[in-house]
Symmetry: C2
Subunit: 194 residues, 2 copies
């Protein structure tokens, strides 16, 4: 069956090669962290040519996102959220985070990653580096605000997701998305206005 999905000319075993690169990437990220991991190092770990890694994945961010099964690549999602009127960025961001995490398939890999991080200092370092490089640094620079304000905004959304989906506190666990947007958007807006 999988034969049918192959593009013509793709060499046999290619589907597995991609999976092997991702497995190797998970090992490299866990051992080296995000900052010190390189496409070259991941290629070496997977015993393939670095050009093949580049063929499958554009960037190190992209490999991380797929290796951890994250629901979106910040490099792709952030520009859309950051575009649009600055005075509504709080609402756009809150709505984006709540909508994304309301889908269990999108949420579960993120929750799994957080659980690992809580129990494991190496995983903490990897997540900290990815967050700083791929998410927080990028947004703080795009908006021209002090990074601490963005971290506090991130902490608010992180806390809400934890209460809603892990601790399952009521009423926040069953609250309507729009009710949460109304409460949270002014907070995030104030932080991001700098």
């Amino acid at each position: 069956m999988p034969e049918k999905r192959r593009r013509p000319g793709r060499r046999p075993g290619a589907a597995d090669t991609r999976g092997e690169i991702l497995t190797a990437a998970r090992r490299v990220f866990a051992e080296k962290g995000f900052d010190k991991a390189t496409i070259r190092g991941i290629a070496r770990e997977a015993s393939v040519d670095p050009a093949l890694v580049h063929h499958y994945f554009d960037t190190k961010d992209g490999i991380f996102v797929e290796a951890m099964q994250l629901p979106m690549d910040p490099a792709v999602a952030l520009p859309t959220i950051l575009a649009g009127p600055r005075e509504e960025i709080g609402e756009r961001l809150v709505r984006f985070v709540l909508t994304l995490t309301s889908d269990p398939q999108a949420r579960e890999p993120v929750v799994a990653l957080l659980r690992t991080a809580m129990a494991n200092d190496q995983a903490v370092a990897m997540i900290r580096e990815f967050l700083t490089q791929a998410v927080l640094g990028r947004v703080a620079e795009a908006l021209g605000i002090p990074p601490i304000r963005l971290e506090v905004a991130f902490a608010q959304m992180f806390g809400v997701i934890m209460m809603r989906y892990i601790l399952k506190l009521e009423p926040i666990a069953s609250a309507d998305l729009e009710e949460l947007v109304e409460i949270l958007a002014p907070t995030i807006q104030r932080y991001l206005e700098g």
Copy 2:
């Protein structure tokens, strides 16, 4: 040596009895959760008379706080924070949480409890019930605000503590307490104004 610390008339072995009650309480809370645990059930698990449990601990809250080595009993700390001008409650609460968690000895048992909770659904239920009964319900009632607003405020402080002490994101991990109070107090104030 421990003999010297005993009050006159205290029966031999009392120091161990207290420890045995706490060990039994940890088992009962883990198995039954906070809501369904009773002083009678803890006494039975420890093979002591319920009156002895009451002799050592005033309330179920008090047993939980000591069993989990929490740095303070909400029943004791909350009235002080809730007293005082309502228009400064945001600042008082932020300052209290940040000051308390800045002491590693106070912080570590809380972090340990959170780590357990992340990995274990039974621990999640126990913490959810304690938080709801002993902290959030009490504050929401005292302030007369909708519980969801208090949960969002709690989520903000929880997220900040996670970023500061577990994820160790910079600059929030090294930020001055007063800088954080300035950023966070207006948020908490807005939530708690209802």
